[in-house]
Symmetry: C2
Subunit: 268 residues, 2 copies
């Protein structure tokens, strides 16, 4: 980057704040200040990043260039409002997939989104080169800055508007949370029958590899797709101890079947 | 193996018959005969395997040691019955996860199951070392033979009884078909908003790696787990064009929530 280093403030001290803060520092873009309502959290992250910290919104540095709001979705607006008085000229972005960028518009002239599309956990190091960064901003030069910054700390950068990002987030819930829940159900069923979950790992790997190599819609197999009602009936009886999973089994099977026979079912 | 090579017959000429037949041959256990109702299919597979073939059940060789029935689940019993007259002394096994071994008991004294737990496709070469073989038989020496054979062509071998295998198959539907359907829904949602499905690949990889490294139940994240009803409401509105997916979204979210708050919902 030809421009001088931006002065960066992170609001929040949760998982995303930790991961982004450390990555920015590691890539030569140190964070100047961490602000969080909980002093202990702000201090701990600030120590790791070698930055200042504060638990008082009014103490955020007025000359900051970029404010990265990495807090719970439902706190973004309140944190933005609280910080806007101290740093009116800053580019304020949040890191949420589910929240419109415009939620910051009432408080900042320069606002946007810096959303890393990945499920972060404390224990696992993110593979930054594989994380799609979805950026957007009201101002074209801010978009350019966010794209450049995403490219510095990652590899995959997309400009994604609010309505696209909202749908991306719904899709991510299906591809991550709901998929993971199907794994969890499988795990529990095996556990109840003294079978190790490891037995399914190769199938899970293969399912993913096929879905990535081609379209998952085209790679579908199984009793629902085949319309094999005998097998489906047997499966439903085996789920008799889990009525809620019977319902899921029926709904998912109906929907798989509908993909190939749109007239076979009706929407509820 | 110290024992002489078994004389192997495969009934069926579908995907599993092809993959198993070629693997057996490649590992020095050639298939002697392929029998299928469709002459062209039997001939084509037999040519690949360098074996005899027939489209007439009565022509199956009477001195065969092992009959591998690799046909549709709902045809196993009929094929077994049709072949039993020609080869009464054979060890007859099917390759189905969803069908009890005992379905062959009326027709053969020696019966069992040789079930490779994987989703086979024409285009992709199976990674044999990673496929769990689930074997079972009525006779202990037949179990031993099936275990040895599975070890020759694969690596992971489990003795799994009928009721365990039935549950394994239900679990596999959740871990494979239903997971894949969640991927397919995500793909469709992105496609409708001009976003490439590739954007979700890293998240899908990470979801799988977490579920394999730890328990998927413990690795869950997302709005349903957090009880973030605002986000869930927004997601449901975004799914307004897909009423059936709204239902899936609700059911899956309820169930994720129930895992941590068993009293919060009731089974239907």
């Amino acid at each position: 980057m030809h421009s001088p280093l931006p002065k960066i403030v992170i609001a929040g001290a949760g998982r995303i704040a930790w991961h982004l803060g450390r990555r920015l520092k590691g890539k030569g873009m140190p964070v100047a200040h961490v602000v969080s309502r909980t002093a202990a959290h702000a201090r701990e992250l600030a120590q790791t990043l070698g930055s200042d910290w504060s638990d008082d919104w009014a103490e955020a540095p007025a000359d900051a260039d970029w404010l990265l709001i990495a807090v719970r979705d439902d706190a973004i607006a309140a944190v933005g409002e609280a910080l806007s008085a101290a740093m009116p000229g800053v580019l304020a972005t949040h890191t949420s997939g589910a929240t419109p960028g415009t939620v910051l518009a009432p408080f900042f002239k320069r606002y946007g989104v810096f959303y890393p599309l990945q499920s972060f956990s404390k224990e696992r190091m993110p593979v930054w080169s594989k994380i799609p960064f979805c950026v957007d901003a009201a101002d074209p030069s801010d978009i350019l800055f966010l794209k450049k910054t995403a490219k510095v700390i990652g590899n995959l950068v997309y400009q994604v508007n609010d309505s696209q990002r909202a749908m991306l987030h719904v899709a991510a819930v299906f591809a991550n949370n709901f998929t993971n829940h199907c794994f969890a159900i499988a795990e529990k069923l095996l556990d109840e029958h003294d079978l190790p979950f490891e037995m399914l790992h190769p199938l899970m790997e293969e399912t993913l590899q096929k879905a990535i190599a081609d379209s998952p819609a085209r790679m579908q197999t199984g009793p629902a797709l085949r319309g094999d009602t005998d097998t489906m009936q047997r499966h439903l009886s085996l789920l008799a101890g889990h009525l809620h999973w019977q319902t899921l089994y029926r709904n998912l099977s109906d929907d798989i079947r509908q993909e190939i026979e749109p007239s076979a079912g009706t929407d509820e």
